[in-house]
């Protein structure tokens, strides 16, 4: 008992260190990933070793307790010095200033009336903590398919689940970024609302951004070809469905989300309760349930070829419906304008 309590205490301090220091976080993460990959790829079982380390905890061996106490004291001193270095207000403020980076966005000029918005969005993504985490989430999702395509989890081997993976592999950024449009711009929403901005241009620029991200994710996911053409086929199908339908479905859902986003902080970056309401839940149906049903059923009753064709057909149909859907989103924006402004203000 005593040793478990002390170990908990140690974990607590370790947690504080991880939260405050990127280096500690990176070390911990790579240690964890390293051990995991040892186990997976080289068949080295690490559990006997960890057993050796943790088993004595259950005994009351004074040597073990002594070692643990030493470990806690070491962590405590580290945390203490770290906090002390951040004690002074001016030191805390100093490091808030971010280094300025000059970006050349002239290559975006070809987008004509959308160029100013795209430039702003790129700056938004690259210069703010919170939006960077959306990019990282999108990147991590590219590897999500490993769980599905390697046969690591048995119940994921049905065609519908494989296609599900395809959607997430290519659409990670789309989900993590798109669901918070227009909340990303919450800090200066009054400006956008009083400027000469057409909603359609605003939406279009976000839509292009999501499209580009889907394509980049698909390119990054080419390594799934190692696992066979079948796996990559699901990735490509996921891309097509995301491009054709999900990219604006996500924006549609975002229009109902009125969460003020603090760009400078990482809090609530993954998952936010107020982002879930019945309207956004309802839109999950066409985003995930519908394609899975279409693919799953036609693959089950007919063939994978037909299922693929069905998905492609639906996506092309979705593409042609972009305009009416955008008009619908525009209506939502207009209708919700005052409540959105109010929500962003508080």
């Amino acid at each position: 008992m005593a040793s478990i309590y002390i170990a908990l205490l140690a974990n607590h301090f370790l947690n504080m260190l991880v939260n405050n220091s990127k280096v500690v976080f990176a070390v911990m993460l790579s240690l964890l990933l390293g051990l995991l990959s040892l186990q997976f790829y080289f068949g080295v079982d690490v559990t006997p070793y960890s057993f050796e380390i943790f088993a004595p905890f259950s005994s009351l061996n004074p040597l073990v307790i002594g070692a643990l106490i030493l470990w806690v004291v070491l962590l405590y001193t580290l945390v203490f010095y770290q906090y002390r270095s951040q004690m002074y207000l001016d030191a805390g403020l100093l490091d808030k200033k971010t280094k300025f980076r000059e970006n050349d966005y002239t290559f975006l000029e070809r987008f004509g009336p959308l160029a100013p918005f795209l430039k702003m969005d790129l700056a938004l993504i690259t210069r703010n903590k919170r939006s960077k985490s959306a990019v990282i989430a999108g990147f991590i999702f590219v590897f999500y398919g490993l769980l599905f395509f390697t046969g690591a989890v048995e119940s994921y081997e049905s065609p519908a689940w494989q296609f599900f993976a395809g959607i997430f592999v290519t659409g990670g950024f789309m989900f993590s970024f798109g669901q918070y449009v227009p909340s990303w711009d919450s800090a200066y929403y009054p400006l956008l609302m009083s400027q000469n901005i057409r909603y359609i241009d605003y939406l279009n620029s976000k839509w292009y951004l999501v499209q580009i991200a889907i394509i980049i994710s698909t390119i990054l996911a080419t390594f799934y070809l190692y696992l066979g053409w079948d796996a990559y086929r699901y990735v490509l199908l996921g891309m097509i469905y995301n491009l054709g339908i999900n990219s604006y479905m996500v924006l549609w859902g975002g229009a109902f989300v009125k969460t003020k986003i603090d760009l400078g902080s990482n809090k609530k970056a993954f998952g936010d309760k107020s982002a879930i309401n019945y309207k956004t839940m309802l839109l999950i149906l066409p985003k995930l349930a519908l394609p899975l049903l279409i693919y799953g059923l036609s693959a089950y009753y007919f063939s994978h070829e037909l299922a693929s064709i069905a998905i492609i057909a639906v996506s092309i149909l979705g593409f042609t419906l972009k305009k009416p859907v955008f008009r619908q989103i525009e209506k939502v924006y207009k209708k919700e304008k005052y409540t959105t402004l109010k929500a962003y203000k508080s």
Partner: protein
């Protein structure tokens, strides 16, 4: 140019603004004065359609602000920091605003270059994001951005607050120059009676959401205004 008719704005039955009729014409530099909670910012937010009136409506060049968006092309405002984009540099921000008003980058840079004096060398080419500037410099950035593209109607909430004395004087010159050159209208709110009487040609005094005085400057002097607020204290 601007017509406010029978506008009532209330929060939970508490009326914060009630204006029967207010007409603002071309060439006017209208100063809005009043204590905190008098309804100055509420009026500006209504003019920009950022909040919805409970009754009545506002037209901007015969366009109802809550029904059409056409007025946005000839109107600009700087109310607070929510009109700035923190992660952009001032130049990027100006260019963005300019592009919304049909100006290219060079035109925008030429235009803001003319304000170097107002910026006092503290804003342009600093290689800094707006969020890292001081409050005073943020205000300068917002004010200048409101003038980009020379819109007919410019609305500034408390432009003198947070500025150092020299910049306040420069701002007065800036406003005077602008009104000499343009036949639009300018709406300014302020707590500073001196500044308001210096630059405005019409003064509207709000108290608890109602227009108490509305006079041309020639009729309402600084002395009168001071007297009014002194009486308020006595009461």
């Amino acid at each position: 140019m601007i017509e406010v008719s029978n506008v009532v704005k209330s929060y939970k039955k508490e009326v914060v603004l009630e204006i029967e009729q207010l007409h603002i014409g071309r060439g006017e530099v209208l100063g809005l004065v009043g204590n905190n909670g008098a309804g100055k910012t509420t009026l500006f937010s209504l003019l920009l359609d950022l909040i919805k009136a409970n009754q009545g409506h506002i037209t901007n060049k015969e366009i109802r602000v809550d029904q059409s968006e056409e007025w946005k092309s000839h109107t600009a405002a700087f109310l607070d920091e929510s009109f700035l984009i923190g992660y952009l540099s001032p130049e990027e921000y100006f260019t963005f605003i300019g592009s919304l008003r049909g100006l290219n980058k060079q035109q925008v840079l030429d235009f803001v270059g003319g304000f170097e004096d107002f910026f006092n060398g503290e804003v342009l080419n600093k290689k800094k994001y707006i969020r890292d500037f001081s409050k005073g410099n943020m205000k300068k950035i917002g004010i200048v951005a409101a003038f980009i593209g020379e819109p007919e109607i410019v609305i500034l909430d408390e432009p003198f607050a947070n500025l150092d004395p020299s910049t306040q004087i420069r701002l007065k010159t800036l406003i005077q120059h602008y009104t000499e050159k343009h036949n639009g209208c300018l709406l300014i709110s302020s707590h500073d009676l001196h500044h308001i009487t210096d630059v405005c040609n019409r003064i509207v005094l709000l108290d608890k959401g109602k227009v108490v005085k509305d006079n041309l400057k020639s009729e309402l002097t600084l002395v009168d205004l001071k007297k009014y607020f002194e009486n308020e204290i006595v009461k």
